[in-house]
Symmetry: C2
Subunit: 100 residues, 2 copies
């Protein structure tokens, strides 16, 4: 279970960390799924890889501030921090998702 400390505040978002988080096909796929919806539980992603690997990818996205996660019962619900990213890095998410 991630702690809230692992998610940077909007003012602490780092461009290099965001670019690194998005420099992986699996993580880009997660972000593309999240951009279409409000919130998705980790378990709903149709990605064929071990749970530990998937958890790693979610953690990288979370630590970079690309997604935020909250626990609901036993599920971890994930949301894209679109507003924060758009405010800090105007046009970045759009250009990346447009090219992905």
């Amino acid at each position: 279970m991630p702690t809230k400390q692992a998610e940077p505040k909007k003012s602490d978002l780092q461009l290099t960390a965001v670019l690194y988080a998005l420099s992986d096909e699996t993580r880009l796929q997660i972000v593309k799924s999240l951009v279409k919806t409000e919130e998705i539980a980790c378990g709903y992603f149709d990605i064929d890889m071990p749970k530990s690997s998937l958890s790693h990818h979610f953690r990288v996205l979370r630590n970079a501030g690309v997604i935020t996660s909250r626990k609901e019962g036993t599920a971890l619900m994930n949301r894209l921090r679109k507003a924060d990213l758009d405010e800090r890095f105007p046009g970045l998410l759009k250009s990346i998702l447009g090219a992905a």
Copy 2:
């Protein structure tokens, strides 16, 4: 000396490789210098780090297709592949450099 093979063709540029190449402060600094000029020799960059480390960063940028390099005498001249990047990933470079 890099071989031409190390530089991907425009059609082979990979978004994830480009994002990875730009996910580092030193490499972003190199790209920001290159966007302002036509061509720069490696030796002209005012970056305080061992030559081998700097060479590594240039190689990552070159292999990802962010820059192209050519030998001129004993100097390696570097150029940003702006047109190729803008065509393959519209708006990406602008949004990254605007945020960097």
